[in-house]
């Protein structure tokens, strides 16, 4: 008995180690190389941990703002010394600002749209209820690449190319079905009696929603906020199509532009990628419980 117990412990330990390695090793390598100079990063075989840790890659992100990139200083910074920073580096911080503004706006609008719709579909008996649920479910299946051409032409016609508004509208459209889906499941799990009691006590539909159900639905609201934020923060394809300058470019677009620059130092790209993943990673760790319950609720019914 004791031996099998020991064997079980050993097996679980090994499996956990493999698990952690699979999930964290790539991230760890990214983090490690973001603290290495270009000279160190190009060593063969690689230094798994930086021998001389440096923060110059991160400094480059935050200082590049004032530094005009000219032919001379571009030439000066040779690849070996890590002086190469892309001409688009100064766009990174503004683009993160754009990403935050857009994500925030999408989150707020998304709640305003999804909450009443989900409540109506879950708790009110009305003609067209099934039809609206089916429409909502269907729209989850449309691939985003199929939206690109019609959205692009529409946005162009409205003169909204390269504006944050175009991204806010499209992200809203992308995120609403999923939010409604999660909220619908949650509202359905709350007892109908609350609805009847509130109505008997003279609440309007609006009051029933805001005073009775919303406080109870808080966990699912948190999940919706997180998903909407992450989707907006991470989205790339539509942002790539609709944005051109720092007026609207989001973080993924700017980071991706580094990748197509052949001269650029990988140490700098790594630092930029680390900066880009910090907000999502913090969210994932802090709100793990909400995310997991939201994901399971959102998917199991689908």
């Amino acid at each position: 008995m004791n031996l099998t117990h020991l064997g079980r412990r050993a097996l679980l330990f090994t499996a956990s180690l493999l698990f952690i390695t699979f999930v964290l090793a790539p991230m760890g390598w990214l983090l490690s190389s973001s603290f290495q100079s270009e000279a160190e990063i190009t060593s063969v075989p690689p230094h798994w941990l930086p021998h001389q840790p440096t923060s110059q890659n991160f400094a480059a992100i935050f200082e590049s703002k004032d530094q005009a990139i000219t032919y001379e200083n571009r030439k000066e910074g040779d690849t070996a010394s890590g002086g190469f920073i892309p001409s688009t580096a100064k766009n990174l911080l503004p683009s993160m600002g754009n990403s935050f503004i857009i994500a925030f706006a999408v989150v707020v609008l998304n709640l305003l749209v999804s909450v009443p719709a989900a409540y109506a579909m879950a708790k009110i008996r009305f003609i067209g209820r099934n039809a609206s649920i089916y429409l909502m479910l269907t729209s989850r299946v449309i691939p985003d690449i199929a939206l690109v051409v019609p959205f692009f032409l529409l946005v162009q016609k409205l003169g909204l190319l390269d504006s944050k508004v175009s991204l806010i509208i499209t992200y809203l459209a992308i995120t609403v079905p999923f939010s409604v889906f999660i909220l619908l499941g949650y509202f359905e799990s709350l007892p109908d009696e609350l609805d009847k009691a509130a109505r008997v006590d003279g609440c309007t539909r609006f009051q029933t929603l805001t005073l009775v159900y919303l406080p109870l639905a808080l966990p699912s609201l948190v999940a919706v906020v997180l998903f909407t934020f992450l989707t907006s923060w991470n989205e790339f394809l539509l942002a790539l199509m609709f944005t051109q300058t720092t007026a609207s470019q989001t973080m993924p677009v700017v980071i991706a532009s580094f990748a197509s620059d052949f001269n650029i130092s990988f140490s700098f790209i790594n630092a930029a990628a680390v900066v880009a993943v910090i907000p999502p990673v913090i969210i994932a760790i802090m709100f793990e419980r909400y995310i997991v319950s939201g994901l399971t609720a959102g998917a199991v019914k689908g």
């Binding site: 952690i20 063969v44 579909m121 269907t138 690449i145 019609p150 992308i174 539909r205």
Partner: protein
């Protein structure tokens, strides 16, 4: 009131109150507007555009060509080879995701110290942007200085660094790996929920009957996981078919079109060649294929919804 109740299905025993109907309409209006934008408008408008020979290189002349764009695409061997690549990418990804996610879910289903840490860490790949994921793997796969080459070299598997993403025989596997890494967490969570629904009694009963670990896995765990597997399969199939970001970051369809998948082809057609007509047609074909797949799956297993 009379007309309203006559419109009701017989299943509704009580008439819908006019107030409820009105408030439901008001509550639903914003969502309907949004669904118009995301579902109805693109479906109709895409189909319309796909019937024109619309090229942004000459925006003023866009003749109506009926279904010529579709014919053009279906006669293009390049399109069919990209369909093949999307299919193999999807099959490899879904198989890899399901296998790794199953192992991870089985581990997380056990009770042991440190389990919480694992399940928290698991969410990290899920949460990060695909662009950052792509850059991370691009650096790992780097032929000159990357970690993969370094690791294989230090472990003695290779004598000298090899070309990775630039090798037509390796590139799709490497992209698949990057995709699987990012998608495994969600699949694990979904499978874990399914596992949790299996009663411990069942295992105990099987143990009493003398079933060993392997037999219990085959006869209890695997069948119990079936709904979870189906769910993961549906979701990840759709994700893989439409996936674009990694192809953009890692290879841009190369080398020598080795990673020229359908999603990438739509992008090239639309935003590199500026042929919006054929681009829209191609996207439409993709959307319909995805729809049919979803419909098929919902018909076969969506009964309990």
């Amino acid at each position: 009131m009379n007309t309203k109740s006559s419109m009701l299905p017989k299943a509704l025993r009580y008439p819908v109150s006019a107030y409820d109907q009105k408030s439901a309409m008001v509550f639903l209006a914003p969502m309907m507007l949004v669904l118009m934008v995301i579902a109805v408008f693109p479906i109709v408008y895409s189909l319309w555009i796909s019937l024109f020979d619309l090229k942004l290189t000459r925006p003023n002349r866009a003749p109506f060509v009926w279904f010529d764009n579709y014919a053009l695409i279906f006669h293009d061997p390049m399109f069919w080879s990209s369909v093949g690549r999307t299919t193999s990418f999807t099959l490899m990804s879904v198989a890899g995701i399901m296998f790794i996610a199953m192992l991870m879910a089985l581990l997380l289903n056990e009770q042991f110290r440190g389990r919480r840490i694992l399940s928290t860490v698991l969410l990290i790949p899920w949460a990060i942007p695909y662009v950052a994921n792509g850059l991370m793997w691009k650096w790992i796969y780097d032929s000159g200085y990357g970690a993969l080459n370094g690791l294989l070299f230090q472990l003695g598997f290779i004598d000298k660094y090899m070309v990775l993403l630039g090798d037509v025989n390796k590139t799709m596997f490497l992209i698949t790996n990057a995709f699987v890494w990012k998608e495994v967490p969600l699949a694990t969570i979904l499978l874990l929920v399914t596992l949790k629904s299996v009663g411990a009694d069942l295992y105990r009963a099987a143990q009493v009957d003398g079933a060993n670990v392997w037999q219990r896995f085959i006869h209890i765990t695997l069948p119990a996981l079936k709904p979870g597997f189906m769910l993961v399969m549906i979701y990840e199939t759709m994700m893989a078919i439409r996936h674009f970001d990694l192809f953009f970051i890692l290879t841009e369809g190369g080398p020598a079109e080795a990673s020229h998948v359908v999603a990438w082809a739509v992008y090239v057609e639309t935003f590199r060649k500026l042929a919006f007509g054929t681009g829209a047609a191609m996207a439409y074909i993709m959307a319909i294929a995805t729809f049919m797949l979803a419909f098929f799956i919902i018909r076969t297993m969506g009964k309990k919804l």
